[in-house]
Amino acid sequence: MAAGFKTVEPLEYYRRFLKENCRPDGRELGEFRTTTVNIGSISTADGSALVKLGNTTVICGIKAEFAAPPTDAPDKGYVVPNVDLPPLCSSRFRSGPPGEEAQVASQFIADVIENSQIIQKEDLCISPGKLSWVLYCDIICLDYDGNILDACTFALLAALKNVQLPEVTINEETALAEVNLNKKSYLNIRTHPVATSFAVFDDTLLIVDPTGEEEHLATGTLTVVMDEEGKLCCLHKPGGSGLTGAKLQDCMSRAVTRHKEVKKLMDEVIKSMKPK
């Protein structure tokens, strides 16, 4: 009976729950889904992390390679993110060149990396003007159930914390790089940006961590990326219904608590990992 109503009038079905201040999966409006993270699972990558936000599953793998530094910034390396939404994660995506959603997500992750200064690009330089590291961050969604941006940001952060780069010395006689695989060091992660996404319903109600169905029914979305000092790296609101300043304030406070939750989870996981 309820399933029939849900198919015919999904928005009305949803509104019945929202009136009682809860959602069909039993969560409150400000509650996140169960978040789990698995760090270092891919042994062939230099750093990796798998994040599950409810059903949404995202894996991030980071490979470090050599490259010549850019001519306009000879003492900097590169961080190249790429978000892939393959057809296996949801039937709405087709195989072929990246669709609009994947491109927008890649641009979002690139902006977060750039704005938050999560890694100082100067740290990636080996020899100014000659050799530097380039970190290829490949983020692949394995299961799409809404809130892809939060999951991708968390996966990227966790994977970057897991990256170990070997020591590289330039041999002066041969001018070739010598890689010492026995001596590896972690990256210097300066800030921890955490994304919190909201969906706007009927122009007034804000719910946190929307699922795939909720995103579809929502009239707008908002993503706030905050670091540990409460500074905002990104306020991404791609159109949709309007928000007043007061509602934005509520979002900020929720983002602050979410940051604490995520940081605690990540620190616990990293502590529990056995050293390689």
Partner: protein, 197 residues
């Protein structure tokens, strides 16, 4: 007809000049707007303000989708084509303004008008509205907002750089005040156009 053309050319001459120093805070650069300048499309507008691709397109598209009453035109495709003639900073805000004016010119029913406003925060935390390209490059943070005309609610926002929550509220308040000026300009520009024809 000749008067109208003279009026248009007069508006265009000024934007090149931006050497006059603007006080910190509220002033926007000079605007100019010309409508119905292309004969083929149903509506067109050029918006001159002062002398990263798919992402920007999506922002503009989603903002338009939020205000256009699409339910009144089923099975219809509304294509908005924006051609950048010159970029002197605050490009996204200018694109949003042009898109809104073009939609009005085409007679598309909308639930509100919208406008784009850009704020830049420099390293000391001073707020500059409608920054030039140089100011944008040197700023610590650049925030672009799209606000609606009914209650100045935030329709779209995209930001670059690091800033605090208090600075965000400050920029939003300044943008809301500036948007009033933009909406007044829309009104005057439309009045001028319709009083002639």
């Amino acid at each position: 007809m000749e008067e109208a053309m003279r009026a248009n050319s007069k508006m265009r001459a000024e934007p090149g000049v931006e050497s006059s120093p603007r006080g910190p805070g509220c002033s926007l650069r000079h605007f100019a707007c010309e409508q119905n300048l292309l004969s083929r499309p149903d509506g067109s507008a050029s918006f001159l303000q002062g002398v990263a691709e798919k992402s920007r397109e999506r922002l503009i598209r989603n903002t338009c989708e939020a205000v256009v009453l699409g339910a009144l035109h089923p099975r219809t495709s509304i294509t908005v084509v924006l051609q950048v003639i010159s970029d002197a900073g605050s490009l996204l805000a200018c694109c949003l303004n042009a898109a809104c004016m073009a939609l009005v010119d085409a007679g598309v029913p909308m639930r509100a008008l919208f406008c784009g406003v850009t704020c830049a925060l420099d390293s000391e935390g001073t707020l500059v509205l409608d920054p030039t390209a140089k100011q944008e490059k040197e700023a610590r943070a650049v925030l672009t907002f799209a606000l609606d005309s009914v209650e100045q609610k935030l329709l779209m926002s995209t930001t670059k750089g690091l800033y605090s929550d208090a600075e965000l509220q400050q920029c939003l308040a300044a943008a809301q005040a500036a948007s009033q000026r933009v909406f007044r300009f829309y009104r005057e520009s439309l009045q001028r156009r319709y009083s002639k024809s």
